[in-house]
Amino acid sequence: MIKLHNVSVTYRLKSESVEALRSANLDLAEGSFVAIMGPSGSGKTTLIQVIAGLLTPTAGDVIVNGQNLRQLDDRAISEFRNRTIGFVFQFFNLPSYYTALDNVALPLVFAGVSETERRDRARALLDEFGLGDRAIHKPEQLSGGEAQRVAIARALVNSPKIILADEPTGNLDRDTGARLMELLQKINRERGVTILLVTHDEKAAAFAQQTLRIEKGAFV
């Protein structure tokens, strides 16, 4: 499902070059739930950005769902992100001017789905996650746990094959974080969605089937 061959990402920071990823190799099967752990600045988030096609590696190939991302143009890679990837961010990234329902439906806007269908699909997911009564609430009216569940619903609304979760529990208390991880585990089990979790929280990583460690841009 996700294959990385000798992927390197080098940033230029003033006159100095920084290697965020160094010849990283990865091969994740469909339906797996993998946690990537590592200290800050180890290249975890860069890895997610490369897999999502948001960042083009300096070297190496990234093959996701059979597609070599290097060969895709902007339109194709945007469509790939829209249909194959679901994002869950540490700070939820829910625009404050949209309701929970509109936030969940947002990826479908870029998929060109009709408004009625968008609303139906978003509402079904909110109901499934026990947020049916919060549909018309704005993000600031939601608790941290609720906001992150809305973010997960948004990640799932277009039925992606992969969810990339970047520190999803980083902004939640322990219990809420645990409940959220249970939800991700359930999604992985019941829907067969491949989940790549980036975290430095051992307890969160424990919910994954496999844990990989990354240090200074390379898997160890």
Partner: protein, 494 residues
């Protein structure tokens, strides 16, 4: 790819988030548009008014006015080129395009008793001899046939369209049925009656009212007219009038009294002889070139004539032929068109000034739109990053911001158009109010329009298209900047 409808909805939502800035942008665009639309609507209204009044109040269809060369001739040795003669008029009648020709015979003074209630106060003034074919065009066939010995008379509608209102002391528009009732009415024409200029009403400028003159005042005015004659003999001669029975057979536009050519010719002859008798001198000296080297037309010569074309005939070839013969020929069409050209030229200047002013304002608004969109892009980096992560293409992002700018521009234009129309309407009402307040001749009230405001749809459509184009230009650079925002950096900021 984002749907157009969603694109507009998202843009509107984003505009709603920055209400103050949006309102400011809309107002700035609207200001320039208001100037352009106001001027355009008023100019269009004035032009429509000119066309409307020009066509309804001007001379008849298919009629050419022919006049002998009127060029200034300062030498007594140089004669006026030529007058129109009976022979020439007879020759014109043979042209296949021409239905009728008549010399322009004006019978003055003329008193029509029945017009005593005419708003101009004096009852008549002069009557013109017209080709019978022209009379037939305006006349009711039955009335014409029934006129018998009476002279068929066509009355200009402006004589009978107003009625004096005793209560308000103003002239009101006459009931159309009563206007039509004039057709078939028997009236008396008194040719040569100096009392034709006797006024029955007096306009009080302070009260802004028309007052009917009392009997004493009328008698005084009558006396004043009589005193124009220097001696008793002239007074006696001028007291003789030719009284004719006439029948109103039809109504025509304008303020004219038309009778057929033949009775007009007889009346004119009668008047000429009466006046000659009063002065006790020959009718006309044979060669009197006067101060400016001009002489009066002799028997069988005319300074002017009217040529009536067959319906639907193109007047231009006939006009050209007449001009080639050395006569001045004007049709309703070309006289009106040359006037309209002058109006258009004047309007062009006003419009250019307004467009230049509006253009400068729009240019400023364009700059403001550019800065607003740039600011929105800067404020929206996190959203742009998120949208790109969720599957928006660069093109989606560009279109989102462009549609935001275009929407602001179009909203400003629409606001400007609506406010411009409103301003033009109220200015038009104000102008009409001010202008009609100073009108002392009620007949002129007939010419006062209800409004001089007209919607120029074409220019409004062009403004909307233009605004879309200008907004696109203003938003292009910031929108491209938004499309090229690096989503990785944008998400990191968050």
């Amino acid at each position: 790819m984002i749907r157009r409808r969603d694109q507009i909805r998202l843009s509107l939502q984003k505009i709603g988030l920055r209400k103050k800035r949006a309102v400011f942008s809309i107002i700035s665009v609207a200001l320039g548009i208001i100037v352009v639309v106001t001027v355009n609507s008023l100019m269009r209204g004035v032009r429509d008014l000119v066309i409307r009044t020009g066509y309804t109040e001007e001379i008849d269809q298919d009629l050419i006015r022919v006049s002998a060369d009127q060029r200034y001739d300062d030498s007594p040795s140089r004669k006026r080129k030529q007058f129109l003669t009976d022979e020439l008029l007879a020759k014109f009648r043979e042209w296949k395009e021409i239905e009728a020709v008549a010399p322009n015979i004006s019978v003055h003074p003329l008193n029509v008793d029945a017009l005593a209630e005419s708003p101009r106060a004096s009852s008549g003034g002069y009557v013109t001899g017209a080709p019978e074919a022209l009379i037939r065009r305006y006349a009711d066939a039955k009335q014409l046939a029934a006129s018998g010995n009476a002279v068929p008379l066509v009355i200009g509608e402006r004589f009978v369209k107003l009625r004096y209102n005793e209560k308000t002391k103003k002239f009101d528009l006459e009931d159309p049925a009563r206007v039509q009732a004039w057709i078939g009415r028997e009236v008396t024409l008194r040719v040569g009656d100096p009392m034709a200029q006797l006024e029955r009403f007096h306009y009080d400028y302070e009260k802004k009212q028309w007052l009917r003159l009392s009997e004493e005042e009328t008698a005084q005015r009558r006396k004043s007219i009589e005193s124009y004659e220097s001696n008793e003999f002239d007074k006696l001669i001028h007291a003789r009038t030719l009284t004719l029975k006439a029948r109103v057979v039809g109504l025509c536009p304008g303020r004219r009294l038309l009778i057929p050519e033949e009775p007009a010719r007889l009346c004119a002859k009668w008047l000429k002889q009466r006046d000659a008798l009063a002065r006790l001198r020959p009718v006309e000296p044979e060669a009197d070139y006067g101060q400016y080297g001009r002489r009066a037309p002799r028997e069988g010569e005319y300074a002017m004539a009217v040529v009536l074309l067959k319906s639907g005939t193109n007047p231009e070839p006939v006009v050209k032929r007449l001009r080639d013969m050395g006569f001045e020929a004007t049709t309703r069409q070309n006289a009106f068109e040359s006037f309209l050209k002058e109006v258009d030229a004047a309007m062009k200047i006003v419009k250019r000034i307004a467009y230049a002013f509006g253009g400068v304002l729009l240019l400023l608004a364009c700059g403001l739109l550019w800065s607003t969109t740039s600011r929105i892009v800067s404020d929206s980096r996190a959203d742009i990053g998120l949208f790109r992560a969720l599957g928006a293409t660069k093109s989606d992002v560009r279109r989102l911001f462009l549609s935001e700018t275009v929407l602001l521009g179009e909203l400003g234009t629409l606001t400007g158009i609506l406010l411009g129309w409103t301003a033009a309407y109220w200015i038009s009402q104000l102008v009409i109010h001010l202008a009609s307040g100073d009108i002392s001749d009620p007949e002129e009230m007939l010419m006062v329009p209800r409004t001089i405001f007209a919607v120029d749809w074409l220019s409004c459509a062009m403004l909307l298209f233009g605004a879309a184009g200008v907004s696109l230009l203003a938003g292009l650079w910031p929108a491209n900047r938004a499309a090229n925002v690096d989503p990785v950096k944008a998400l990191k900021r968050e």
